[in-house]
Structures are given as C-alpha cells and as structure tokens.
Amino acid sequence: MKNSINLDIALTHIFTRKKQTFVAAMGVTIGVGIYLFMNSLDSGFSKFSTGEVFKNNAHIKIYKSDEISQPFSLPTDDTNTLRVIINPQITTLSKKIINPEALLATVKSQPYVTNAIAQVNFDAFYNRGKAQVKGAGNGVNMIEYAQMFNTNKYMVAGKTEALQGNLNGIIIGSGISEKLNLGLNDNITVTSSFGVVKVLKIVGIFSTGSSMNDNSKSYVNISTAQQFMKEGPSFVTTLFINVPDAENTEPYVEKLQQLTSYTVEGWKTSNADVVSSNKTRESMMGAISMAILIVAGFGIYNILSSTIMQKINDIAILKATGFRGGDVVKIFVTEAFLMGIIGTSLGLLMGAILISIMSKVYMGGPVGYFPIRHELHLFLRSGFLGMFITLCAGYFPARKAAKTDPVEIFRK
C-alpha cells in the first residue's frame, strides 16, 4: 500500500507530463543507442583486426631467439683486474630447435594447449624463366596448419589436403601466381637462400586479402622445407601453439616458458601495434560514447529538477501529511527509473537497428561487409550503464526534493 501511493504519484507525474518524459527518455535513447553502436563498431573491428593477426600467427610461438655474445668475465669494481672490451654481436649459428619432436609432444600434452604444430621457415625465390619473386616458404604439416589458421577459408584453387604426403607439391599465394602467370598444376621453380633448387607442382592457391602474404608466402611439406635448408629431419624453426583464450595468453606463455629455454612469445608481444591500436580505438570510442551517455544523464537531471521545482507545493503537502524523505526520494527516483527503462529499451532497439544496417554496409577489400555483430555483453553493458546513469541523475534532484522544508513553503 505504502509503495503503491509513491508509484501512483510517480506515474501521474510521468503521464501528465508526457512531453518532458518523452524528451528525457529520448536523450537516454540516443545516449544508449550511440553507446551500444559505437562500442559494437569498435568490438567488431577489433575482433576483425585480431582475426587478421591469427591468419598467420598462432596465439603463442616458440622459437630460438638470436643470442648476443657476452663477455667471458663478469664486470667487477676491482681496478687490478684486466678489463676485456668486447663488441657484442649476434652469435646465433643456427635457428634450429634441438629435439623438436620431444618439445612438441610435451607442449601438446599440456592440458591448456588446444593445438600445436611445428614449422620450418626458409627464404625462397619463386622463378619462372627470368621472372623472379622473393618470398618466404613455410614447411608445415598442412592439415594441422589449415586447422589452426583456417587456411581452407582462403583457398581459391586446389585443396590444402593435396599437399599431404606430396613432397613435390606447393601451395602459393595468389600474388605469386599472378606475377608468374602460373595456375593450378603448373610447375614452379623454387630456390632457397641455401642454393637448393627444386621444381614443384602447384597444388593449391590461396588469397588472404593481405598482399604481404599473397605476394610472398608459400606452403610445402616439412621435409621439403628441411631439404631447402640442407637440414636433417629433426630441424624445426618454430612451434605454433593455440590456447583456448586468445585474449589472455600471458599466463600460458609463462607456463610454457617453464618447459623450454627457447623464447616463448604471445601474439600480443609480436603484434603490439595491433593491440595498442585496438586499445587506442577502444578508449576513444569509449570516451566519446560515454560522454554522450552522460549528457543524456544531465537531460534526466534537468527534467527532474524542473519537475521538482514545479511540484514543490505537492512535495510540501506530502511531507506535511506524513510522507518521509525516503518516500519523496522513491517517488522521483521511480520517475527517473521509468524514464530510464523507456529510454534504455528504445536505445537498445536503436543500437540493434544501427548494427543491423552497418553489418550490411560493404567496406570492400579484405574487410568485406563491416565486421559488426549483435554482441550480448555489449547490450547488457549499455543497458546497465543507461539505467545506472539515469538513476544517478534522478537520485540527486530527488534527494534535494526530500530535503524540502514544508514550513518554508507554507509560510510563503
């Protein structure tokens, strides 16, 4: 009963002042809608650019990092000792990971590793007659590799499976194919930096949309790559590892580092530029959309303040007839809440419509349609923030109303 009279009064204020209610709710609608839309844009694009990274990067990679020569004696303060002056230099003789099978098996046996593969990288020159294209060859187990990097999605001719067990096969980027005017089942001459020359048959062509990849990359079997490097079957340069949570690789990197002395690196370290540009965009979008939402909060604050100014006599008589300060707060916070509910739900609807429209906008290039989706957690966050800001904006004028001294009003 006690609450119903507060609600009754709040509803009456809301419905007898439809225009003001509508204006206040519209403010919240636009705030929440834009907030949701901008954050969805950002989230969609961040996911896209991270996805670009994972086209040819695993979540974590293990490789042998270059070693810098160290002085033989430790520096000392003792002036009597002989000082050795050295010129630090890279002393890496080989990029080889020793006993890669054992390491790969250990890595694969870790419960948090979803996928791990070995890779042999070498510098390659693709030749046809006098034409030559410089690039990078990757020796991989193609089936596992395709699984990890979704290569099948980018195949424009042939199949990744065709490489399996075919030591004379090669899958090349579409850029190489165009430049050398070579198609499926044509032969290509590949020369490595170690002087090994092989004639391989093109069993597949991929196009990722990134010219850097498409113009230089090719896939061969691991043993073919090892031959290109004049190395034996235990030669591996890199291990690629996938973990369940790509956004949070640091703890896994630490765990893996305990298993090996080779360098373990998360994708965020090797792609710091992508991570930082995502963060920059996120803060910019977040700041702008938050500002819009806060402005909507001021709209609610204004409208409620003016309602309270107009209803000061009502508040005085309510307090005189025994309404507590808390009741008055409840009445006006309820009004803010109702405006917030209307505004926020319309805002979420508006955001959803904007996202739907945006997802049909063709951006061209490798992006295709704008990478934006309806993400539940963003809807929840926008809804929560919309309501939170509305309630805050309602609470302050309501508290002021609750402090009204009825005697002051009646004695005027």
Binding site: I5, D8, L318, G322, F323, G325, P406, V407, R411
Partner: protein, 234 residues
C-alpha cells in the same frame, strides 16, 4: 463533547529566528488543548501564532521547550518518526488547498491513508468517499481537483486532513481565501468535527468572527500568550 483529556501540551516553548537578525518569535509559550476542543490562535501579524502552529505541527523542530501530543513527548524525535506521527494523528488545512492537481478529489483525499497503509485500497476509497459526503462533495469525487471552485477545493483539503481520523486538525488561516458563505461552511464543519467526532481543532485565524465562534481563543502578542479567555472577544 469537550472533555478534560489533554491532547496537546506545550511547556516553555521558545523559538528564535536568525534571519535576517536574531529575533525571539516565541517566549516561553505554555498551553494545553483538550480533546474535542475548537481552539483558535489569534494575534497581529508577527505575533508568533503561525510560528507556534508550525512548532506544534512537528514540521518545525528548531525550538526550545517541550511539546507533548497525546501524552507522548514529540520534541527530539527523528524526522521519520515525526512524519509517522503527523500521518496518523495530525491533519492539516492551509490557506491554500495544496491538492495534487492531477489527481481526482477522491484520490487526493486518499493520499494520507494510503501512506498510513492501515486499510486496503477499497476500504480507503470507501472512507474517502464518506469524508467527501460529510463535506457535501460526493458529486465532485471523480473530478480532477483543479476543476473545482476555491471553496470546494478547501473542503476537499479538509476531507484529506480528516481521512486518517487524526486526533488534531491544524489549520493555518483555513478560511483566509474564502468568501463569507464558504467560511460559514468551513466553520460549521469544524464545529461538527470537534463537537460530534471529538477531534481537536487548532486554527490560526485573522477572522474575528471565526475566532468568536470557537470554543476558546488564545491571543498572542510578541511571542507571548496574552489572553486565553474567550470572553474577551465577545
């Protein structure tokens, strides 16, 4: 129906105003109001009669001295407790009606009872209708409060003040805005409330005829009671 049961009592009530300069508005005011008594407070402007009423109403708590309502000391209680006391035991009628303009008369009358929450919605509606009937407004019950004449609005305000059957009905110039015909109606209602229903009425008034008609008149001057005897006004 006037009896010797004390409903409201003050002891050494002192009140200062600090704005614009320190000024003593009430000087040790002490009096008693009885059950079923129709009491009026009179005095010139600035005599402190309204100030006294607002101290009695429990809305103004910045005073020295003690106030007892139905034997219970209200001085020093928390604002929420005072709100509950006002809700249950005190009804208010002001010079202006202070009705909620968007609500119908009936709903306006129901407001304090719904705050009290003692009865169900249906019962409150019935009681509110009864009160409006006593005040001759049963036909206006469903009209918005803002559509009524001034006299009718004041009667709705009285019905609202009576809805919780308060022990005391306080009025600040309750007839100040009314013509003589409506003043007479309000006077009759007050008489009936106090004499037939045993509720105490304490009203501030400028209207000497109104004061004369009451059971007892307390006259204030410069914050002091200078006369409690009705006969002096006759």
């Amino acid at each position: 129906m006037k009896s010797n049961n004390i409903v409201l009592k003050t002891e050494g009530l002192i009140k200062y105003f600090y704005e614009p300069v320190k000024f003593q508005a009430l000087q040790s005011v002490a009096f008693e109001a009885y059950e079923g008594e129709f009491l009026t407070l009179v005095g010139k402007s600035g005599s402190g009669k309204s100030t006294l009423l607002y101290c009695l109403s429990t809305m103004d708590t910045a005073y020295e001295g003690d106030i007892f309502i139905k034997g219970e000391k209200v001085t020093g209680k928390k604002t929420d407790e005072l709100a509950a006391i006002r809700n249950e035991h005190i009804g208010f009628v002001f010079q202006f009606h202070y009705l909620l303009p968007e609500f119908s008369c009936l709903k306006n009358v129901m407001v304090p009872a719904r705050r009290l929450g003692k009865y169900s919605y249906g019962e409150i509606e019935e009681r509110a209708y009864e009160k409006l009937k006593i005040l001759g407004l049963q036909d206006q019950a469903l009209k918005p409060a803002s559509k009524l004449s001034g006299g009718q609005q004041q009667r709705v305000a009285i019905a609202r003040a009576l809805i919780n059957d308060p022990a005391i009905l306080m009025g600040d110039e309750p007839t100040g805005n009314l013509d003589s015909k409506n003043t007479a109606i309000v006077y009759d209602i007050f008489k009936e409330i106090s004499h037939d229903f045993g509720q105490t009425i304490i009203a501030v008034t400028h209207d000497n005829d109104f004061a004369k008609a009451s059971d007892r008149t307390i006259e204030l001057a410069d914050g002091k009671i200078i006369n409690q005897n009705k006969k002096d006004f006759e």
